[in-house]
Symmetry: C2
């Protein structure tokens, strides 16, 4: 990381192709990370790649994820293996007149490094509160806190945002000029994540209102 508001490019994060889509600005990276809930975390176990979808959340220059203390995945990652955390959002399908130039609009972030286990109790509690508040802003103050035993049964990992790149494809159809006169339709079909009307738990105690904050989650575009 340098102090110009951008992540330093490295051998791993420098895009060899389609440079025009590469972004290293922290605000772009943060924005993509703050629009998603599920990351795909890759690591190597027994020489083979494993890609696990998992909830993640960002606090400052750290990404967090968590799971059961008994999880094989988290156990492996907590041992300090290299991970690649990828977050992507599909924003649209780009139909060019030529099949060849058809593509998708998307935003993605790849973060590389070694995840470390969060062992400090205060940081661990703050991180787990951060997850609840990511899922619904204010939820950590309006739900039952974890017991000591539950905290013990939960492993929280932190990956510092250091070796990071974003890739963004946005905008127009990219047909070659000579294809623009063809008699095919061309355009973009936008795609986005939406939150639907919440469903109350059927065992909800009488008189409990659904809090407004549960739908105030930032997601997708």
């Amino acid at each position: 990381m340098d102090d110009t508001g951008a992540y330093t490019q490295t051998e791993l994060t420098r895009l060899r192709r389609r440079h025009m889509h590469a972004r290293y600005d922290k605000d772009v990276v943060h924005d993509i990370l703050d629009s998603g809930l599920v990351a795909h975390v890759g690591y190597v176990a027994g020489g083979r790649p494993i890609v696990t979808p998992t909830a993640y959340w960002r606090m400052g220059e750290n990404l967090y994820f968590h799971g059961s203390a008994a999880s094989r995945t988290l156990e492996t990652m907590a041992e300090g293996v290299e991970v690649c955390v990828t977050v992507s959002h599909l924003d649209g399908i780009v139909h060019a007149r030529s099949g060849f130039n058809s593509c998708m609009n998307y935003r993605a972030v790849m973060a590389f490094g070694q995840a470390v286990e969060v062992t400090d109790p205060a940081e661990k509690t703050a991180a787990l509160d951060g997850l609840l508040d990511r899922l619904a802003p204010g939820r950590s103050k309006d739900s039952k806190p974890s017991s000591a035993q539950e905290l013990k049964g939960t492993k929280v990992l932190r990956l510092e945002l250091n070796e990071v790149s974003a890739k963004v494809r946005a905008g127009e159809v990219g047909d070659d000029e000579e294809d623009q006169k063809l008699d095919f339709w061309a355009g973009i079909v936008p795609v986005r994540l939406v939150v639907d009307e919440p469903v109350d738990d059927p065992d909800l105690r009488p008189g409990i209102e659904r809090p407004d904050y549960v739908t105030k989650i930032r997601l997708g575009r």
Copy 2:
């Protein structure tokens, strides 16, 4: 694969924890794969894990993905390295009364194996048509076919569905019984991908109507 309509469990695909979420039925796996457009493909390069988001599509018992013949990622994968292709859909946020039991509803598939490059011209063309028709059913017949040079510049990879598992969390809030009497709201916030009104290319020739098929794409739930 056995002939009972399920994928055979292996060391890699057998879930050690949360067995109740594991699925090996082909129809469940196919359904999850056919609801998505972007896979996260993991592979190992120089000993480090790389997770790349990429368009994918299924034809029978094969997954396909593609890219530029000059792509480093596809080059590495075409050399026969092991890949892990993961597809996941977020279906909802599950707010339990206790932070500890809060979670997400999701569907995910992980497929392991070695991808091979599709070199047979007929299979390659059929596969790329399959992608266009996945993006919009019928599009391969209503767009400009790839030229010989474009086909040469495109690499198509195939991964046979063999070592595959699905993981599905659906349904209710999972609070412990003693927490159900607490005065916190609990419920599920459903999440799904939607397709918005298409945007015509501004350079569209006069008189070209938008085909109905462009919004008939299967996506998400």
